[in-house]
């Protein structure tokens, strides 16, 4: 089993392995296998298309957490120039599950803030598996306030299983750190665009997720609790995660229909991890378009729109 493929992608993995084998044989002998290889490649593409056309929310949750999926620093590398990372909350520590700094989006200087996961074991530990502690959220707030002072638009990249549930995090006020960001982001006097690039895990995601526009990558997820958490509480069994994912509606298309997000960024065939450069290009075009639009809106109007947007979220009856 190829570990870079998820379980529902195994038929694709098998085809790709066969193609690889034929290529190897072709190199090795006088046989011309290029026609056969082309046929198989065509087949692999159409198989991928058909599998990805009818993905279930639980499968999308797997894609959103794919170990090769681009993370914030990957997008920074592909989309921006002149990145200068800024560190620390000035009070306690520099929390590595959140990165931030100054960069240019073509000619526009911006402040970038994003969750950061790690790819190998050492990096995963350093990034605390993408789960920020209060000092991470306070660093984010410090950078956002700085962006406001220097009139820099803010771009956030959301990708976290959630805020870290640990002793120290509680002692240092995890709840307060998240709550404060929600309040402050609602009134920051610069345009804010938030993009869910992988996992949008609950309050830990929302803490850098209040903005003028909320984007989601096609195969990212955004939810109040992980499918596993929801399943183990409501179904009393983590095995019911697929059901929980379905019930909560955690996918970009469902959340767009519900009016909870503004924009879906289409991913390359097979998911963002198959082509980092391509997804970065698509996202960059979208961010630039949106940013130019937001920068045209008078500040008072922008802030009033943002406030109204969040105040209107909810379903209820009044008689």
């Amino acid at each position: 089993m190829n570990l870079n493929y998820l379980d529902f992608e195994q038929p694709i993995a098998e085809l790709e392995a066969k193609i690889e084998e034929l290529r190897f044989m072709g190199n090795d002998s006088e046989l011309n296998l290029s026609d056969e290889i082309a046929t198989l490649q065509e087949k692999s593409k159409s198989l991928t298309d058909s599998i990805f056309k009818s993905l279930k929310p639980w499968q999308i949750a797997q894609l959103a957490r794919h170990p090769l999926r681009p993370y914030t620093l990957d997008y920074i590398e592909h989309m921006f120039t002149g990145f200068e990372e800024l560190h620390g909350d000035r009070a306690y520590a520099d929390d590595h599950p959140i990165v931030g700094g100054l960069a240019r989006l073509d000619d526009i200087p911006v402040m970038i803030i994003g969750h950061q996961k790690g790819r190998d074991t050492a990096e995963k530990v350093k990034r605390n598996f993408g789960m920020p502690r209060p000092e991470g959220y306070r660093k984010a707030l410090r950078l956002m306030k700085m962006a406001e002072r220097f009139r820099l638009p803010i771009l956030t990249f959301i990708d976290t299983p959630g805020a870290y549930p640990g002793l120290g995090a509680e002692e240092r006020g995890q709840s307060e750190a998240i709550a404060r960001n929600l309040l402050e982001m609602a009134e920051l006097k610069v345009p804010i665009i938030c993009t869910v690039i992988g996992e949008g895990g609950s309050g830990g995601a929302l803490a850098i997720g209040v903005g003028d526009r909320i984007n989601m990558l096609q195969y990212s997820t955004y939810s109040v609790i992980s499918p596993e958490g929801c399943a183990s509480i409501l179904w009393k069994s983590a095995e019911k995660s697929p059901e929980a994912a379905e019930a909560m509606g955690i996918t970009s298309d469902r959340l767009k229909d519900l009016g909870l997000i503004d924009n879906i960024i289409e991913e390359p065939t097979g998911g963002a991890h198959r082509d980092h450069a391509k997804i970065a290009k698509t996202l960059k075009i979208s961010l630039k378009e949106t940013l130019e639009l937001l920068m045209e809106i008078p500040l008072d109007r922008l802030l009033e729109n943002r406030y109204e947007k969040f105040l209107e979220f909810g379903n209820f009856q009044e008689e």
């Binding site: 307060e176 309040l183 402050e184 939810s223 909810g314």
Partner: protein
């Protein structure tokens, strides 16, 4: 007389009262209640009169939202805000039970339409708006109705230029409303920003328990953060933390006294002093109207 004898003698006298948890339900409803802290068997009527505070050990038991606010406000001064707002099941959410059925059951059990009630009234003559969570209603979880009622209450504060007080008691966000419930955190926090800008005081009073999304939004954003004694307040639940760090949590972790020690709250106020202390604070922040 050994303690065993005492209990067997007691059991004979009052066959329905037992110290083991399994037969707890056989206590005739509304007559006796055991204090979960000191195990004293208390007369229900007395406990109610004492605002659900154990007269023996001062343990604060949970109190319903309505009783809490009735005790908080001056007599006959209360006017309910947004009482007609009701929950809907927009996602047609179903786990082992339908959300719709859970709502009906919670409404029946609590007599409330959802987990938050909101009032305007006077406390020792101070005109204010107060909201209270009802933990009996699906664990006081925050869904769309809680968020909407909270902002309606805050809007009355803004219109009338009077302080806002919120008693929270909640397990966090309401999973059955999925991302809509998460967004209530942003919604309630956004309006608190408006109160700040206008210089209208907001006092948050955290009662047992105040966790998750409620703690990480409206509950921690008070100009003054207050907790009742020994309330469990935090972001992640103790069980989740224990599973993550794989160690036993220290005694008193995430309790009010722990929060005070770590600088998260301004003070702990016992329930009996709540009216006087809150109205005293507000009278210094804002002239009584």
């Amino acid at each position: 007389m050994s303690s065993e004898n005492v209990s067997s003698w007691f059991r004979k006298l009052l066959p329905s009262i037992s110290t083991d948890g399994a037969s707890k339900k056989t206590v005739p409803e509304g007559l006796w209640e055991k204090c979960p802290s000191c195990s004293a068997v208390l007369y229900r009527v007395e406990l109610e009169k004492n605002l659900e505070v154990c007269p023996k050990c001062d343990h604060h038991l949970r109190i319903t939202a309505r009783k809490r606010l009735e005790a908080f406000f001056d007599d006959d001064s209360m006017k309910e805000i947004a009482e007609k707002i009701k929950p809907v099941d927009a996602l047609k959410f179903k786990d082992s039970k339908k959300y719709k059925d859970r709502l009906i059951a919670a409404q029946k059990a609590s007599g409330e339409k959802d987990a938050l009630i909101t009032f305007q009234g006077h406390v020792n003559g101070v005109n204010l708006v107060a909201a209270a969570f009802d933990f009996r209603f699906m664990g006081g979880s925050m869904g769309s109705v809680v968020g909407e009622k909270f902002i309606r209450a805050a809007k009355v504060s803004l219109e009338k230029d009077i302080p806002l007080v919120c008693f929270s008691s909640s397990g966090g966000a309401r999973m059955q409303e999925a991302l809509f419930s998460l967004m209530q955190m942003a919604k309630t926090s956004a309006i608190l920003g408006r109160l700040r800008k206008r210089g209208i005081p907001y006092i948050s009073i955290m009662t047992d328990p105040t966790m998750g999304g409620v703690s990480a939004s409206l509950a921690m954003l008070g100009d003054i953060n207050v907790a009742e004694p020994n309330a469990l307040v935090g972001f992640a639940g103790p069980r989740v933390i224990e599973q993550t760090v794989r160690e036993k949590l220290p005694e008193g972790f995430q309790r009010s006294e722990f929060l005070l020690e770590h600088g998260a709250i301004d003070m702990i106020i016992p329930r009996h002093q709540m009216r006087d202390r809150i109205s005293n604070i507000l009278s210094m922040l804002k002239k009584p109207i």
